[in-house]
Symmetry: D2
Subunit: 360 residues, 4 copies
């Protein structure tokens, strides 16, 4: 079959670059349009991007001309999907325009996450939420669609929470994060600010983790999502690490679970992407580590097989009984924040929609 | 009055160096003996130490001859106090020998912390626990004494916990730490291991934080300490920071406390060292920060006034209501791990003992 | 005497902040006006600055209102000196306006360094170049003045070159630098770019070092500076260090010099600021280190006594015979790039002008 | 053909681990024996190694039993080659014992580099020096052999020097290095020493670069190497980078060369390994970069194709005319210090010897 044309919107930032990189050689998708802010229009991609996610800008996109962020830019090519890495403050109306014009928008931006008819989608966790798409199309009277992904921190956390929730129920989640620099983009955190330092604050991040978790674990009830009834508390910190969000997690389950039981359900966890064998799906979305001092960002952020799923597996280690909750489990969770937590996730979302024939 | 002679035992490590540095110009104490392992005996201090805590080895100790770790080494000088920065595995019997020989041992090592008749002492928190000293002397039939200080992580945590415990009671404490490299000493964490990385494990650290907190908040009941009845859960991580342990703390209080009430009791907290105006006591042992992104290790680790108390104040910021516990308070705590959390703390302990005439 | 009123222009950047910090408590100068770009006008200094050079914005300037960059802003106060930390592209005409209006401009910007009647001034090295001021005033028909300081990298280098040049002559200088992050300002180098990395390029830096050195060592010949006849080659790199430019230097002298001779003339070097006992002058502008592995940025960047001259002394170590030039000397030089190499230097320049009655 | 059995000696250090890693799946060689110090004997490799060069110890060696460093350890297996990553102080006599017992020793240690009958071998540069092997065998009366590789810093430098030397002659070389942490091994540089710092000294490193270069560019004259008649000056620094030595290089050529000529001869350079198509040979041993700010360690250290030659290509950028020497060329050189500069190099050396039938 011929590949589906896709556009990347906001392609010069840290996440935009990951989209470009991960879409190279994709078996289903082909980048046919790069859109970015007015400043960049008409220039070559290589002229405007401060490429930082790998040694070289891929040859195939180097000379592509930057187009304005507009449905006009998509018309000359046969494009069906728009991947959006736009800043939160401009993403809202722009993504709606694309959906109105019939395009499927797989977004990394937070703008529409709270819309009742827009799913926050992580295919291993809540593939069922794609049932919101027909609702959304009806509500909004458009033929396109918008799906979002979760905040990068929520994404790492939700993966082990899902099988625990399904098997033992969850009462409370308390998470403290140590987040990577690439999450703040370019220019992002000034190097002068982070050298020999930790910054114990990331604007709006804790609130996102606390409510997105509930929507992600919620149930589709015919026309909207009923959020899960659990309590989440997050404390977010920025540390001196390039890629890979590390999270110290404490879960109070509803039914008592042993460490061995938790390890087993995490290691055996599979979801829709694994069943459908989607191109970007890791064979095992969760990898349990038994060494006492893992996961570590530098070593474990690239977890995931096969090659195309590198950075898509979440690693979980230090699974142990808690000392505060009788039914408490502690663990350390790591996920690649610009792959599983951003660009890779949005690509996997689009793959799921294609597999379910919601695109074309 | 003439100064009291003191010895530093284990003077070449990261904490030993801090002892040497902080004791320079001390108004009450004077370093008259430096003891270190056999390898170093007979050499000058400057020949064996890989000095790293400041630009220059203080002139006064540069040429001091390293003595063996033994009571023999103390006899030629008029020495009353031994500061111990010995490794945990050798500290136990050695510190007992010093106490038997009549010396006051103010120890940074963990060896005797669990002994029922040895206080873990943080003068602002549990000065009353020095009442264990007469018990200890009677039990052990010695004229010297041993006091220990808490683990560096516990020390930062306990300082804000104390006024909260006194004013509102505490049910649960959940803490995730981001600890500095100097806590691992020299050679410590290999630079190859920590660059672009976080290590989510520090051997035995979590257990220490979990039980030391109970002893520190416990009550002296005539011959021993009855530990506090609270639950503590710790997750400890090593990050790329030189000095300063940062801790994300969640406290469930017994009685509901507002953010403003917590800020007030922390900011107003004073203890014995402040009343006694001890030389190493910070004017305010807790400094409340209101900026949204503080405390940060590089900026706040040196908190404390006057000059001699730099690094002795604990900074607390991001005080906010929790979302999991109805009576929950979240905050971020920072303390200098080799000053308040180690050498400075042991010196303050010795000052308290002198003020209470338990030394001489 | 009452203090001289001064203004700081471009006060929100990395160097502007150092000006503010170093001028606190200055015995001769008092900050009476803070100017910054239009965006900031009318706001309080604390509202617009991302303060990063120390834990706290000094109280005295916190609430000062930002004024536009204009001579109008200076009129309401009794101001004689404008310290300029403006970006190179706007500094040129603005600084001229201030000089025309009668103000003394002590600039950190490169805009006027190449003007034949504007001195690049480093008081220990070429105090004599202030003789250009009367020439400048006549040429430009103004009652104010402009003096610049050298690029931060040149400043560290020139200090040891001066006594070597005077005593042994210099044929060639080959320098490779390892420069600190604060030299790139805020936001400056993205943390994503420098983690686990060195950037072997700083735009225009090498050219500056290569020609400024010649002007600084040049002779005043009545109406202009005849540059020194030496050859300089620079290679500039950015490394992961907060403050302190480190330079590997190779000098081919005209007359053979032994290592001991070089050490002696460097250690004994004094200049005008030391003779005049200027407030910001370090007792010894060059400090020779004999340890094999020094100077190191973290330990030696704050060299300089007394307190007000911290960061104003240049440290030189690893002085040794070269293996390529028969009359070659190699050494490692370190200087604090935003103090000796920027704000401190401009303040010292202003002090020299005051001492020579060229201001008021 | 069946694979040649090889042993790795000193397999637990930073270089030893690279040997283990690079030999996995090697088409000619198979690790049949791992030798390490007495402490480790009899234990499994995974029990003694603090594995740090990749996320996981390769499965094939995880459970191999550590053997003593002795010819006895080799007998039970069909082994022909010993790769030595022994510390310099023990390598000397041990490597001789292996050679006497008939084994080919490809060493990373410095012990025998100065021996007149032992080649320092970098196959692209001086493959001809293998003619020393018959001389060595005759001199020493042994059937084995010892070849060494150059110091990791020399190795990166020599690669571009070779074609320049051949085409234009070289008079002088002045190099300043910024070397990676992995070069100091494990535990190596304490993280406390290198955070926010550069260490401008590496013991004995400068001397090695200065003389090894002469031997490497020397000519075999029938029974020994006549060193090249050039002058080299090195200044070595340790920076905060995991892998990849960066070098600022200034070369004075004998005949004038333009920047374009230099670029051309570097880009076109090929040597024996490329002609022989050795398994670990990169297609292009030198890669010329034209971006103004490259090479950078994090992006360029893995240069080299195909897959097995990753880290074996040296990247050269910023090639420009010098300002001190009329025939001077400046450039920035980067090479992976534990691959091209250590383990990969020794493996390539062994491949060359096999291709020339000097092994078996």
């Amino acid at each position: 079959m011929s590949k589906i044309g896709v556009a990347v919107c906001g392609a010069t930032g840290s996440v935009g670059q990951r989209f470009i990189e991960l879409l190279q050689g994709h078996p289903w998708f082909e980048v046919k349009c790069i859109m970015a802010s007015e400043r960049s229009e008409g220039k070559k991609y290589s002229e405007v991007v401060q490429w930082i996610v790998s040694p070289r800008i891929p040859e195939a996109v180097k000379d592509m001309e930057i187009k304005p962020v507009s449905t006009e830019s998509l018309k000359s090519e046969d494009i069906r999907i728009v991947f959006s890495a736009l800043p939160a403050d401009v993403a809202g109306p722009v993504e709606e325009q694309f959906a109105k014009a019939g395009y499927a928008v797989s977004s990394n931006a937070a703008a529409h996450r709270k819309d009742p008819d827009v799913p926050i989608l992580i295919p291993e966790v809540n593939a069922e939420h794609i049932k919101l798409i027909p609702v959304q199309r009806k509500n909004r009277n458009w033929s396109g669609l918008i799906v979002t992904e979760a905040n990068c921190t929520t994404t790492g956390l939700i993966m082990p929470l899902k099988p625990i929730y399904e098997n033992f129920g969850i009462e409370k989640v308390i998470v403290t994060t140590m987040q990577a620099l690439s999450g703040a983009g370019i220019p992002g955190v000034p190097s002068m600010a982070i050298i020999d330092n930790v910054i114990p604050y990331i604007a709006n991040e804790e609130e996102k983790v606390e409510w997105e978790t509930l929507k992600l674990l919620g149930k589709f009830n015919g026309d909207k999502i009923t959020p899960a009834n659990i309590k989440v508390s997050a404390s977010c910190n920025r540390v001196f690490v390039l890629d890979g969000h590390l999270e110290s997690v404490l879960v109070e389950t509803s039914r008592k679970a042993s460490v061995e039981e938790i390890k087993k359900i995490l290691a055996e966890f599979k979801g829709e992407p694994q069943k459908l064998n989607l191109p970007t799906a890791p064979r095992n979305p969760i990898i349990v580590l038994n060494e006492p001092n893992r996961p570590q960002p530098r070593f474990d952020r690239w977890a995931g097989e096969p090659e195309r799923a590198k950075g898509m597996a979440v690693t979980v280690g230090r699974i142990r009984q808690d000392t505060v909750f009788e039914k408490g489990i502690k663990m350390t969770v790591l996920s690649h924040n610009t792959i599983r937590g951003a660009a890779g996730e949005s690509i996997l979302n689009a793959e799921l929609l294609v597999a379910h024939k919601l695109i074309q």
